[in-house]
Amino acid sequence: MELLVLLGIPLLGGLLLGLVGSRPYAAELNVAVSLCTFAAGIALTLRVIAQGPMLVWDELFFIDPFNVFLVALTSLVGFTTSVFSRPYMRIEQHHGRLTAGRLRLYHAMFQLFMFTMLLALLTNNMGILWVAMEAATLTTVLLVSLYRTPASLEAAWKYFILCGVGIAQALFGTILLYFAAEKILGAGGNALLWTHLYEVKGQLEPTVLTLAFIFLLVGYGTKVGLAPLHNWLPDAHAEGPTPVSAVLSGLLLNVALYAVVRCKVLVEGSVKSDLAGHLLMGFGLLSVVLAAFFLWRQKDIKRLFAYSSIEHMGIMTFAFGMGGPVANFAALLHMTVHSLTKSAIFFAVGHATQKAGTQVMDDIRGLLALSPTVGWGLMLGSLAILGMPPFGVFASEFLVLTTAMKQQPWATPILLLALGVAFAAIFTRVQQMVFGEATLKRLPESPALLPVFTHLAIVLALGLYIPPYLAEWFRLAARLIG
């Protein structure tokens, strides 16, 4: 039941905002809808925690600890983002970068995006999963091009084409999957249901699944932003409105990775070799290293953090690739803390860029002097994302690194090199933005920094103390992934 609500609210909210999204109260409405979604998500989560996995609507939807935790995360970040975007978008409008119509588009698309995310997470049907992912692409394409500036159009176009092509590969992979599955499960709807596939994964044809996995990996991997398929990501993050960057980094990448992992589970079950794992590790490492070096050359603050997202996605992918309870646990934890931290950073960055009126880092100086909250938000957020204890990101990186040391000793030096480079690259820039003499101006609306510090507080807490039920929950999920 919560399910219906959970999916219904954002859908209806999207339609509703599509009608009234330009009204002055639209932003509040947006917040309200997101809040309801969040509430429903929590309710569903509690239910699943209490009763365990559930299948609803002739197995069309399947909720287990793995995806329900992502549901909770998604709805939470969605909610905070809506809170943040309220003043942010007002200021944008005030600066005349947005018209009312665009604002309506933004609100509607935001909700629809949430809907597609949740759908992708909740569905049990690999086909629907694909459909949802594609739909997510479409909605976000419109969001990225919201400003209609040449740059934003270019970014959106690249995003669209690259992800479209990628996702097409994913569809081919899905077809192959179905092709393999229908021999065991027979033609018809069941052959794409993850639960059924999971049961019979042992009997699926290895060769087909291998091919299928490659197409799925390339397809969904494009959306995860694995190097070298990542090229759309920095542009889309940099040119879209900041709330969109926040949800892209915080949610979309996670969901795409979720899809990849689901597929990996099946393939591992069928293909006896750990090919899938090695592929993931390879892509993960490559992404981490490339991203780390890209970071070194950034001038645009949002690109900077976009690349940092690529880096962290690489770390998660690597961890999932290693597999095993600890690594998966670490990866899930990293997913959580990364999306929280990164969205928090983007919130802070949003205000910073609005104050500076530019995204060029050399023109942003002395945030601390002008607005301590923004400054500290950015500083702490960056330190958190750089894996500085006592923030939670460190906890997961600690686990990942130590596990890697155990299972893949060859990989640890590479990881460490990348982490070191990334640290130097990001920190030197953040430091010069936060510290020093202020060069910025005041703003009409007071920034909403509640989201930033809520996220950071959660991340901090996770670094010091992971409540038992959460841990138990992660463990369940980790076990599911195997």
Binding site: L229, W232, F293, L416
Partner: protein
């Protein structure tokens, strides 16, 4: 919480107490009065309490706790044993003095708001305490990095100055890279048991290669924090940048946590030590010691000078550690105990005199707003308190009897005298050279300290506006006094201290100095035949002789004194600027140790209308090691940056090729 561990709980509570004080600072962040006069003294109280707790903990069996925090499979483990207790003692005792000083030192309107400063400062203290208390890798790393982070914020207090930002960045970068090394070290140490508690690591059996790897990583990680050459570059940057109490805390206490880490890993977590580890550490230590002191001699900024002298002292400490490893590896336990005692003693001494000197520079800085030696001078008249208390520190750091610096060097030299007994060819030939180098270092540090003290406090003021320099306030005096008294007491009462240190020996090496250590009030570490030393009697001797001389001269003759101008060599136009400068004083050393330096000189030509002389001392390591790395990264990133050149067709090609490649892979 499991078990009853009163002392451990006490220590943890004090850490919490510090955090609480810090948070209280935020309540009235702008009120310097509240923060300075109330909170910092409370922090000092915490320090004294911690010292007391630690003192009793040294004498007791290890206690441990498990907190319901941390990672699900890895809750926070706490443990206090003689080693950690000793370093806690160091932290508490030195920290108390520094806090008292800081109470009077921090003025508002200097960069960060006082309240925030208070928070960072006390979090720094607390995190150091937690580092020492941690008994599992995760808590240790968390505390370790928190320490780095809080100290980083303290260093960048005046972040409006670009150099300070740069210094902070370098500091945090090196700290972080080091921390990664430590992390790896723990990853090796747990040896397959999926347990990151130190207990598990103690239990783990590593084969020699892995053990060596762990040791190497630990040496790298902790060495980066301790500032061992060539990982020292952050130290002379960060120490001058930070406010003086912070420099004192960093140099006096924080560096010692790195020493603690090395000892913990080497003698506690690892079972066997290989003699050549010791050799490597000795080499590193010697080099750092000489390097540090030679550079210190060439400095013209008083805080940089002290920073380099810290490198020197850390070098000496590593020397001791290396020697201990060797003795231990060859099973000469008593000697190992002697050396370890000397090493730890030196840690404690360094904490006191270095903190004292840094605080003194802080007072000078406040009184004169001047950090470069070339513009100071004659302050002994303006600020007698600081001057005379700093003199104690100067003598102590110069390793002169009967102060504390001498005791540890004496012990270390004594243990060096045994190295010929090492059962390994070469080693027993080479290591004694260490004694020579150590002696050289000690003598050089005396040179450096004469320069330091003489140029700052003696002579005539080199700038006119030094004339209205004022002495430091009451609280600052108290802080300085505390540390100075500490130096004297540590110098005069080595025997009880050694009795304490023997507990650490027993825990770490399973051996003690035996009876002689506690024999009676003569310090006779090995045997009364071999060597004895009693600073108290020594001091008494000097005093008696002094008094007799004075009394004799005054009694037999007279005490008439006439004041006059100093002799001007018949050249009446001498100004105070014509005194020897710091550069001048360091010149012979620069000349002798030319190859150490990378010098840029500006010599005036006879025809200059405004002749000026400048000399810049730079560090080869920076140019040979760090810059190349930076360039390498830069170059790589430029190459990789080309990948992303904006054309969508190329991006599509990437995915196309990836796809094809993968297909080929699986075919």
């Amino acid at each position: 919480m499991t078990g009853s561990a009163p002392l451990l709980e006490g220590a943890a509570v004090i850490a919490l107490w510090w955090v609480a004080i810090g948070l209280a600072g935020l309540v009235r962040a702008r009120s310097i009065l509240f923060v300075g006069r109330v909170l910092f003294p409370l922090g000092a109280v915490g320090g004294i309490a911690l010292a007391a707790v630690a003192l009793s903990a040294i004498l007791q069996a290890p206690q441990s706790l498990v907190l319901p925090l941390g990672l699900p499979d890895l809750p926070f483990h706490l443990r206090i044993d003689s080693l950690s207790a000793f370093f806690l003692l160091l932290l508490g005792a030195a920290g108390a003095g520094i806090s008292v000083f800081a109470a009077g030192y921090f003025r508002s309107g200097e960069g960060t708001a006082p309240g925030l400063l208070c928070l960072q400062y006390h979090v720094f203290l607390a995190s150091m305490a937690m580092v020492l208390l941690a008994d599992d890798a995760y808590l240790f790393m968390v505390a370790w990095e928190t320490m780095a982070l809080s100290s980083y914020f303290l260093v960048t207090t005046q972040h409006r100055i670009p150099e300070i930002r740069r210094a902070g960045f370098i500091y945090l970068l090196v700290a972080h890279v080091g921390a990664l090394g430590i992390l790896l070290c723990f990853g090796v140490l747990h040896g397959g048991s999926w347990d990151f508690t130190f207990d598990a690591m103690r239990a783990a059996q590593l084969d020699p290669r892995w053990a060596t790897a762990a040791f190497g990583l630990a040496l790298f990680g902790f060495g980066a924090k301790a500032g061992i050459v060539p990982l020292h570059v952050w130290l002379p940057e960060a120490h001058p940048a930070a406010p003086s109490p912070v420099s004192a805390l960093m140099s006096g206490v924080m560096l010692k946590t790195a020493i603690y880490g090395v000892l913990r890993v080497t003698f506690d977590l690892l079972h066997t030590q290989h003699w050549w580890w010791g050799g490597a550490v000795i080499a590193l230590g010697l080099f750092s010691a000489l390097f540090g002191v030679v550079f210190a001699a060439a400095q013209t900024d008083m805080k940089r000078l002290l920073a380099y002298s810290s490198i020197e002292n850390i070098g000496i400490v590593f020397l001791g550690i290396g020697l201990t490893i060797q003795f231990q590896a060859f099973g000469m336990k008593t000697l190992a105990a002697l050396t370890l005692a000397a090493t730890l003693y030196h840690c404690l001494n360094h904490a006191f005199f270095k903190a004292l000197l840094f605080l003194a520079t802080g007072s000078v800085l406040h009184a004169t707003r001047e950090r470069s030696l070339g513009k100071l001078g004659g302050l002994i008249h303006r600020m007698p308190w600081v001057a005379w208390l700093a003199l104690v520190g100067t003598l102590a750091i110069a390793g002169l009897p009967p102060l504390n610096g001498f005791v540890s060097e004496w012990l270390l030299l004594q243990s060096f005298l045994f190295t010929p007994e090492l059962p390994h060819a070469f080693i027993n030939m080479l290591v004694p050279i260490g004694a020579a180098a150590l002696a050289l270092t000690a003598a050089l540090s005396a040179y450096v300290m004469v320069k330091f003290y003489g140029v700052i406090f003696l002579g005539r003021p080199r700038e006119t506006d030094l004339s209205h320099a004022h002495d430091c306030g009451r609280l600052e005096r108290l802080g300085l006094l505390w540390l100075a008294v500490g130096c004297v007491l540590l110098g005069l009462l080595p025997v009880p201290m050694l009795a304490l240190l023997d507990r650490v020996n027993a825990l770490m090496l399973g051996a003690t100095l035996g009876e002689q250590a506690q024999s009676w009030w003569f310090l006779a570490p090995v045997s009364a035949q071999r060597a004895t030393y009693n600073p108290a009697v020594f001091l008494l001797g000097i005093l008696v002789a002094f008094v007799l001389t004075y009394w004799g001269v005054r009694r037999l003759y007279h005490g008439r004194v006439r004041r006059a101008d100093p002799w001007d060599c018949g050249y009446p136009l001498q100004t105070s600027r014509m005194q020897d400068t710091a550069e001048g004083f360091g010149q012979p050393i620069r000349q002798i140790f030319e190859p150490f330096f990378r010098m840029k000189r500006e010599l005036p030509s006879p025809f200059d209308l405004a002749p000026r002389y400048r000399v810049e001392i730079e560090d080869h390591v920076w140019h040979w090691l760090y810059l190349p790395v930076a360039w390498a990264v830069e170059g790589t990133s430029r190459l990789i940056g080309r990948l992303q050149q904006g054309r969508i067709a190329v991006y599509l090609l990437y995915s196309f090729i990836t796809l094809i490649g993968l297909l080929v892979l699986v075919l």
